[in-house]
């Protein structure tokens, strides 16, 4: 009897020790920190679908929407009420790291969850109207260096938000000083900001490449640079990167996930691996293509470091422009 029990125990122990042994049983929850219809909601729903087709999970992936505070409500919920739930993943993006860096989730920081991976990105662009005197990013940056108030930017995020930060990242990389004096006009969304740039009221537009497709194709908007490592695939291939113009600025707006902190290492490993498998699949490539997502996927294990780094970078910038004391 004793021997039997020991063997059983040993078997169970051995089973749980092997890395791939852990698998979520039953229903998995994907928390989208916004209303249905937004980017996070899309991330959860499409990832859930592909995971089910690839049989990465036994049961179903259920998307639960929890809007509020730009993801803060869901973050607080994960940190406090679900801290050891290993069947929960939460959609995140650069908006999440920005708010974490600027301490907009009171009492919480990036180390309170486990970051499991990214699955693609939308890249930042800097653009001007078709009649603008600026032909490339260098001319625009030279004007900024000469007088930081000479170029006015419009974007779809609040001051200090991601669209504003992209301008600052580029200006800093170009060697401009007096970053806080660069005028930034915040609009409710990218479309509204673009109208003002196309209408000639504001000099330059900062946003993501997917937003600008319409005005780019109509020729009303001239994209000076995309803030990616290499030129983007497909129809965006003509846009020069900031790097090839000698300005080392990157602005990926990634889509990815985090999970609660107090979960087992096995569960974490399982989810990191699942995201890897998913990202490599044909099914996910089709989703990315039809939704304008551009490849972006830090290697397994590097994502956590990437997030920490991005948070630090944004924190420094925010401090520099006086948004953080």
């Amino acid at each position: 009897m004793f021997i039997k029990r020991t063997i059983a125990f040993a078997a169970v122990a051995a089973f749980s020790m092997s890395a791939m042994a852990w698998q979520p049983s039953g229903k998995v929850e994907c928390l989208a920190p916004a209303d249905p219809g937004g980017g996070w909601d899309f991330t959860c729903r499409s990832v859930g679908n592909v995971m089910q087709t690839l049989d990465l999970v036994d049961g179903t992936v259920q998307t639960v929407n929890m809007a509020g505070a730009g993801g803060g409500v869901a973050y607080a919920h994960t940190v406090s009420k679900r801290k050891n739930d290993d069947k929960l993943i939460v959609a995140a993006s650069t908006a999440t790291t920005t708010r974490l860096a600027q301490k907009q989730f009171p009492g919480m920081d990036a180390s309170m969850v486990k970051w499991i991976g990214a699955l693609g990105a939308d890249y930042g662009i800097i653009a001007v109207g078709k009649d603008s005197k600026y032909e490339n990013l260098n001319q625009l940056m030279d004007a900024l260096k000469a007088n930081p108030r000479s170029v006015k930017f419009a974007g779809g995020s609040a001051r200090g938000g991601w669209d504003h930060l992209k301008v600052l990242i580029a200006a800093k990389a170009a060697g401009a000083e007096k970053l806080p004096s660069i005028p930034y006009l915040s609009y409710n969304n990218g479309g509204e900001a673009m109208t003002q740039v196309v209408g000639g009221q504001v000099d330059a537009f900062t946003g993501d490449v997917s937003e600008a497709t319409g005005f780019m194709e109509s020729g009303d908007l001239r994209v000076l640079a995309v803030l990616s490592e290499e030129r983007l695939p497909g129809k965006f291939g003509d846009i020069p990167t900031a790097r090839e113009q000698g300005i080392d600025a990157l602005g990926p707006n990634w889509r990815g996930f985090y999970m609660p902190k107090d979960t087992s290492a096995d569960a974490q490993q399982y989810w990191v691996k699942a995201i890897d498998t998913l990202y490599a699949s044909e099914e996910w490539k089709a989703v990315m293509k039809s939704n304008g997502l551009i490849p972006f996927h830090p290697k397994a294990g590097e994502f956590e470091a990437f997030v920490t780094n991005q948070v630090q970078e944004i924190e420094d910038l925010s401090r520099e422009i006086g948004l953080l004391k």
Partner: protein, 508 residues
């Protein structure tokens, strides 16, 4: 003409069976809401917003439903004016003058039929005006910079009380309340949080759909609970239709004049449908002078205000769709709905969301035909529904409101918040503080603040930029007039409206 092309595309959207079904449903419910005394078009649309969310309607269908409700409510207002001498909503006030005397003479059926025809004519004229004017104004709106937008919002606030508004102080209080509520949450021009008190749910600000449903729908329920008005009205006999074709033809000039005047009144900020119907009625009286027997049941006295208020209803959509500045309470509610569907009104909408804009306009035209059909043969149904006790209607409204709001965000916090707004709205209405300026403050306050900030950034802090372009100066002047005129002429106009009403319906 490209407008015709767009309109055809709009018809393609509006004529799908799914959208047509919702247009019909909206027209029916709208008429019903309009004829219930106390429930105006703004309330009607506000009550139906949660339903659109509950059913998970796509944006164009949701907007078609709500505009049909709007058009329907404008039709419905006349029913209780004519039958009971109680206007179903404010714009239908003038219809009492000749409508009720007609009913007393046993011509209720005729009055209802001719007013339905007049509503149709007014609405048709207004919608044609909307089709012609809106694209032009939308293109013009591209030349608006922050300074011009700031002046425009200022104009909207200056004319808020409207020429017929009762107590300017209370309007100011209401608008201020709205602006105060709108400041909660992140301030996009500085990136800092305001008045959130560390409550995470408040960080993104207060959703105005919550505020609207709470202020209009929930407070309505509380009023009902208070009054225990459980019985409903006694049934009114309508009688036989004796309206002759010749009689309809003789009112055509009246219909044209009324519709056109109403449309103009609707486009102008602050005027709205009530003024539209008042002006049309007064004009008709002075044009026809002694020839008519106004106030004693003259058929043209029913036609003029109905054509006027329905023309104004379509007219009020023009500034809302093209500039994002609503001309009336109901269009403010529609604007809130557009924004929460993630559609920014203005010039961009006419190109980027052409299917929605033109689908809605086409739906207005279709809805009018539906309404005419609904309102002549089926008038008996509405009259009967008028006597349905509200105790059956309001619980349904409440249920829909709660389910709808919950289905937007899945947050119980929002439900509590809606109740807070409902109780707040109840108290404010007891104090006779109007609801519409609150909504306008809530919607326009942040826009005005944003544009002021932007104008100053662009001019490097030079305040004179606000009145440096001819367009901006023009807007400032109109805003000034809008502020001064009501205080000068408002009392006179109101007195005339009141005396007109007093000498009009003879209630025995």
């Amino acid at each position: 003409m490209e407008t015709i092309g767009f309109l055809m595309e709009g018809f393609a959207v509006a004529l799908t069976p799914y959208n047509l079904m919702f247009a019909l449903f909206g027209a029916f419910v709208g008429t019903l809401i309009g004829c219930l005394p106390g429930l105006g078009p703004a309330n009607g649309v506000a009550i139906l917003i949660p339903l659109a969310f509950t059913l998970g309607l796509p944006p164009e269908t949701a907007m078609i439903l709500l505009t049909s409700v709007y058009a329907g409510a404008m039709y419905g207002g006349r029913i209780s004016s004519i039958l009971l001498n109680i206007p179903g909503d404010e714009p239908a006030m003038m219809t009492c003058l000749d409508g009720y005397p007609m009913a007393q003479k046993g011509r209720a059926a005729d009055a209802l039929a001719i007013s339905a025809i007049a509503s149709f004519a007014g609405s048709l004229i207004g919608t044609i005006g909307l089709i012609m004017l809106a694209p032009v104004l939308a293109r013009f709106a591209l030349t608006f910079g922050p300074a011009e937008y700031f002046a425009l919002f200022l104009l909207a606030f200056a004319t808020l009380g409207g020429i017929t508004g009762k107590n300017p102080m209370k309007t100011v209080i209401a608008a201020t309340l709205g602006i105060m509520i709108s400041t909660v949450g992140i301030d996009i021009s500085t990136g800092t949080q305001r008045y959130t008190g560390g409550v995470l749910e408040l960080y993104e600000g207060i959703d105005f759909i919550l505020a609207i449903v709470g202020l209009f729908a929930i407070s309505e329920l509380l009023f009902f609970v208070e009054s225990r008005m459980g019985k409903g009205r006694s049934k009114v006999e309508v009688g036989k239709l004796t309206l002759s074709f010749k009689e309809v033809v003789t009112t055509i000039p009246t219909q044209l004049r009324g519709g056109l005047l109403g449309f103009v009144a609707g486009v102008l900020p602050g005027a709205g449908a009530s003024l539209g119907s008042f002006i049309s009625y007064t004009l008709e009286k002075s044009v026809l002078g002694k020839k008519g027997r106004f106030g004693e049941g003259d058929i043209r006295g029913v036609v003029a205000p109905e054509a006027g208020n329905n023309g104004a209803a379509s007219g009020a959509l023009v500034p809302m769709l093209t500039l994002g500045v609503p001309g009336s309470g109901t269009t403010a509610v529609l604007l809130a709905m557009l924004i929460s569907l993630n559609i920014t009104p203005g010039p961009l909408m006419f190109t980027q969301n052409a299917d929605i804009v033109w689908g809605v306009i086409a739906a207005l035209l279709i809805g009018n035909v539906l309404l005419l059909v609904l309102n002549i043969p089926m008038i008996g149904v509405f009259v009967r529904l008028l006597s349905v006790p509200p105790m059956y209607l309001l619980p349904i409204v409440t249920m829909v409101a709660f389910v709808g709001i919950y289905s937007i965000s899945h947050s119980t916090f929002d439900l509590y918040f809606m109740i807070v707004f409902g109780v707040g709205g109840f108290i404010l209405r007891k104090l006779e503080i109007p609801m519409v300026p609150i909504i306008l403050g809530l919607l326009l306050g942040p826009e005005m603040e944003k544009n002021l900030g932007h104008a100053l950034i662009l001019s490097d802090g030079d305040w004179s930029t606000l009145w440096s372009s001819p367009l901006a100066i023009g807007l400032w002047l109109v805003a000034g007039l809008g502020l001064v005129l009501p205080t000068l002429f408002g009392p006179i106009l109101r007195r005339r409206m009141r005396t007109a009403i007093k000498e009009g319906p003879v209630s025995d």
